[in-house]
């Protein structure tokens, strides 16, 4: 049993521990002088989501409504939460409102992966198949006209992701029945297991950190072999708070950070993905998703419903089955008279629920150590990709999200993160080496939200330190400078990141 009420003491414990370590090791040196000086501290930094920022008391959660949400909209927020949280069930049932799961799927609900709005989990061992972690698939080669709107060449049999579950009774009862008791009607695509290869990183000061990277094993492939040339990318479900604010950042403010040819010579470029917008039927700048392959929040939510839960909707009307998966295609679905399992007015509720999930107020923001870490963050140029702040644009529809000064610490641009982090799976313009800068807000309380310590796209990093050490490519210079800091300064920098 989890009694998470014990958890909030962790931050204080960390602070004590860090202090003890610092005193023991190095005493209190000032941070090294830097050519990139941090701007003056602003009082708005304590409120990463501006007026939407919610209190982390009594429970730290990324599932809270924006603090300034109009009370009249609260019931819609919770109605949307119902659709994100309560399990979808196998069709047919007596109404279409909650049926249509799968036939193949990854999760029954949105929040079973984005637990409490936070980051998903990835197994530390190969004892259980991956759940809450997505395996994206594609085939190599130039994008043909046929797949111009997909941005990838999907696997001809398995499509663009592994759905590791199915509505088949044999799958549902796999933990209680002897193997062979039941045959699949619709087979899950595969049970995917992960193994971790450990390696040791040694700092110039000889301090060592254990790192790990994943390798996958596909068992029970339901539809034949994957083929050797299949491109595979492991994705842990990201946290989903603050999305409505990110959505309202003016595109021109993001574009202003683009330096595609690295004209300023800092080694950091940053570029916009250009992706298909199903609503406008045009190519549009990508903003959401680990490779910025979705232009709008609505498409992000609708795409996840269709692909991950198997709930069709007007933006993604198809079932999650490829032409080669005939049993999947011919299974009962939960479509309404318009041909969708999730009608638009309910999809809107879920999108608005996601839109209104609040970033949390910071608990540490102005102490000496946080401010020292802040100096280092800027000194090392971390802010070049983890762009600290934006002001959201105007929205008549969502006035409470408008004009907010927010502190997400992401430029929402694609960056080459080096070969070791690469998934080698292009997605629209994003190369196999490129990832969108993930926002850092809330990263320090991520595990207090739901226990997940997984960082980076595939969850390989278990601490902020490990995540930093995996940085390469455009982030190489900053990473190298980090490794040459004193241990105390490294801790101070990480203390700042944890405080965000």
């Amino acid at each position: 049993m989890k009694y998470l009420s014990l958890e909030p003491s962790y931050a204080r414990f960390s602070a004590v521990l860090l202090n003890a370590i610092l005193v023991l090791l190095t005493g209190c040196n000032a941070p090294s002088p830097a050519e990139h000086v941090a701007p003056a501290y602003q009082s708005s930094e304590a409120f990463p989501g501006g007026a939407t920022s919610a209190s982390p008391k009594p429970f730290v959660s990324f599932q809270l409504p924006a603090a300034n949400l109009n009370p009249a909209l609260k019931s819609d927020f919770y109605a949307g939460q119902a659709l994100a949280r309560q399990p979808w069930v196998k069709a047919p049932t007596i109404t279409t409102a909650r049926d249509g799961l799968g036939p193949i799927y990854n999760a029954r609900t949105c929040l079973s992966c984005h637990i409490k709005g936070g980051k998903g989990f990835i197994s530390d061992t190969d004892q259980v198949p991956l759940l809450g972690t997505l395996i994206r698939l594609s085939k190599p080669g130039a994008i043909t006209e046929e797949f111009a709107q997909a941005g990838i060449i999907p696997h001809p049999v398995y499509g663009d992701q592994i759905q590791g579950q199915s509505i088949s009774l044999a799958h549902q009862l796999r933990h209680s029945q002897k193997p062979g008791t039941l045959q699949h009607d619709v087979a899950p695509e595969a049970y995917v297991y992960i193994q971790w290869q450990e390696q040791t990183f040694t700092y110039p000061d000889q301090h060592q950190v254990q790192l790990r990277q994943p390798s996958l094993e596909f068992r029970n492939l339901g539809y034949g072999p994957l083929g050797d040339d299949t491109l595979i990318s492991v994705r842990v479900a990201p946290a989903i708070h603050g999305m409505g604010l990110l959505e309202l950042i003016p595109q021109q403010d993001i574009d202003a950070l683009v330096d595609e040819g690295d004209h300023n010579g800092d080694g950091i470029s940053g570029r916009v993905n250009l992706v298909w917008d199903v609503e406008t039927q045009t190519m549009a700048p990508g903003r959401f998703g680990l490779k910025a392959n979705k232009p709008t929040l609505a498409m992000t939510v609708a795409g996840a419903f269709a692909g991950d839960v198997g709930i069709s909707n007007s933006l993604f009307p198809q079932q999650p089955c490829t032409k080669k998966q005939s049993k999947c295609l011919s299974s009962h679905n939960g479509n309404d008279v318009d041909g969708f399992e999730l009608p638009d007015h309910l999809l809107d509720l879920v999108v608005n629920f996601n839109r209104n999930l609040a970033p949390l107020k910071r608990s540490h923001f102005k102490s000496q150590k946080v401010l020292q870490g802040r100096e280092l963050f800027y000194a090392l140029n971390c802010n070049q990709c983890h762009a600290p702040s934006f002001k959201t644009g105007d929205s008549t529809q969502f006035p409470h999200l408008s004009g907010q000064t927010i502190w997400p610490y992401s430029d929402l641009l694609l960056h080459d993160m080096g070969d070791e982090l690469a998934d080698h799976r292009p997605d629209f313009l994003a190369s196999g080496n490129e990832w969108r800068t993930p926002p850092l807000w809330g990263v320090g309380v991520q595990h207090q939200v739901n226990g997940s310590r997984a960082l980076l796209h595939d969850g390989r990093a278990r601490t902020i330190e490990e995540a930093i050490l995996w940085h390469s490519g455009e982030a190489l210079k900053s990473k190298v400078r980090f490794t040459t800091l004193s241990k105390k300064d490294r801790e101070t920098l990480m203390f700042f990141v944890k405080s965000l």
Binding site: A97, Q177, L182, D185
Partner: protein
């Protein structure tokens, strides 16, 4: 907060701190937490006891599967909901129920996974092919044909129905398969709530109307438990489900038992300073506010009201949703007043089983003790209004318009008691939030001096 109130608050807080350890018995803070824990233990104890009565009724029905005994089993199920509903205010605050709630009370139910689902092809659009029988089977290869039922636990006789089936499936992996708990038992006893009595034109657009139009619950025939080939398997499933329900509820009950070193209650009721108390009180208020606004008004009522969705009805097979609403709301006011009146065993709306009733120290008492009388009064007004409105839902339901009829399009007006209850629950949630605000409970204490622990001021930072 105005200055006068602030002054009152500070004065009261100082007084309390000063009096915290006097010899006149437990402090106000301690009394509030103890009562809150006492009510939890009482409601879970009654939940366990009524679940055991349900088990007895199911056993009798198995031995003698008559219409009378089926009715008696249904009644026992309805009674078992009475104390459990009042316990739901203990969710949303990381208390013992969170570990098993998914197995106890999860919904929507995966009904198609448990037993046959009878789908009348004229009631449903083309997506719902005419599955009419419980003869399950699969095609070895090729497509899944609409002429055969999908597989389900009752129909697949190779599936062993034992405690491992539920224990290993219900909580397995992501979320829950939702084949366990109260609603699984409900589905097996009542069956799907389909329109079988009226002759509406059901060309798809009228589908919701057709489904909702009946004013009774599900219509599972008695033959499902007598002459049907799988009758024994249904009895077996009920037996396994109620056993697991009892085990799960007992686990929660044990977490709240007084005098057990190290259990949840011991942790919850142990406070050493005002900050400890504030944390616990915030947890209580979070549970009350979340149930009022998020779960009940939003996830259960607004979504059902907005989408006219029968499946969003909490107890959709038995048409008992009006009681779910009443009982959840009653649980919230129990926490406020520090009292639990017991439960209703005769379905007349009056709590007649009072053996575990609690009459203790409520949040209202505490507010008055710290000089916030007007806050206590305005919260009481909010609770009273909610009670008026949910009572109206209950009255209508008892008069033949169950919740699924009350949410039908024609009844969706501002005057609907469902609409009024949603609004009053939201107002009640704001009143609960006001309590937290006035007591400064949600504030983030800033560390503007340094991250140094004040307990170790000598550590250099």
């Amino acid at each position: 907060m105005n200055l006068l109130k602030l002054a009152t608050c500070i004065t009261a807080a100082s007084l309390l701190a000063a009096c915290g350890s006097d010899s006149d018995g437990p402090s106000a803070q301690q009394k509030l937490l103890n009562t809150n824990a006492d009510i939890a233990y009482a409601t879970y104890t009654d939940s366990v006891e009524t679940a055991k009565l349900l088990k007895e009724a199911l056993a009798t029905f198995k031995t003698s599967p008559t219409a009378e005994n089926l009715t008696a089993a249904k009644t026992a199920w309805l009674v078992s909901r009475e104390p459990y509903g009042q316990s739901e205010v203990y969710r949303f605050r990381e208390s013992p129920i969170e570990a098993v709630e998914g197995d106890v009370n999860a919904w929507p139910l995966g009904e198609a996974l448990i037993d046959y689902v009878k789908v009348n092809d004229t009631d449903f659009t083309a997506d719902q092919v005419g599955v009419t029988a419980n003869s399950a089977g699969i095609n070895a290869d090729g497509v899944v044909d609409g002429s055969i039922a999908t597989q389900n636990i009752i129909g697949e006789t190779d599936v062993v129905i034992n405690d491992a089936l539920l224990a290993n499936t219900a909580s397995a992996d992501d979320e829950h398969d939702v084949i366990a708990g109260y609603h699984a038992i409900e589905f097996l006893l009542w069956g799907q709530d389909l329109n079988t009595t009226t002759q509406l034109t059901t060309n798809g657009t009228d589908r919701n109307l057709a489904v909702n139009a009946t004013s009774q619950g599900g219509q599972r025939p008695l033959e499902d438990f007598t002459t049907n080939d799988n009758a024994d398997r249904r009895h077996q499933f009920l037996e396994v489900a109620v056993d697991k329900l009892i085990v799960d509820l007992e686990q929660v009950q044990a977490g709240w038992k007084d005098g057990v070193s190290g259990n949840y209650r011991a942790q919850f009721t142990t406070i050493t300073n005002d900050a400890d108390f504030n944390q616990k009180l915030t947890e209580i208020l979070t549970g009350m506010g979340t149930l009022s606004e998020g779960e009940l008004a939003g996830e259960r009522m607004q979504i059902a009201f907005a989408s006219n969705s029968q499946e969003d009805e909490h107890s959709c097979f038995s048409d008992n949703t009006h009681r779910d609403i009443w009982l959840d709301a009653e649980g919230v006011s129990n926490s406020f007043y520090g009292s639990y009146a017991g439960y209703d065993s005769t379905q007349d709306g009056i709590d007649d089983v009072t053996s575990n009733a609690v009459n203790g120290y409520g949040i209202d008492d505490y507010l008055r003790e710290v000089g916030l009388d007007s806050l206590a009064a305005s919260a009481k007004d909010a609770f009273d209004l909610t009670e008026t409105n949910y009572t109206e839902i209950d009255t209508l339901a008892r008069a033949g318009s169950p919740f699924d009829v009350q949410i039908m399009a024609a009844n969706r007006t501002a005057q609907s008691p469902v609409s009024k209850t949603i609004i009053s629950l939201e107002a009640q949630a704001r009143a609960i939030q006001d309590i937290a605000t006035e007591l400064n409970l949600g504030d983030v204490v800033e560390d503007d001096a340094s991250e140094c622990e004040t307990s170790t001021p000598d550590v250099e930072c």
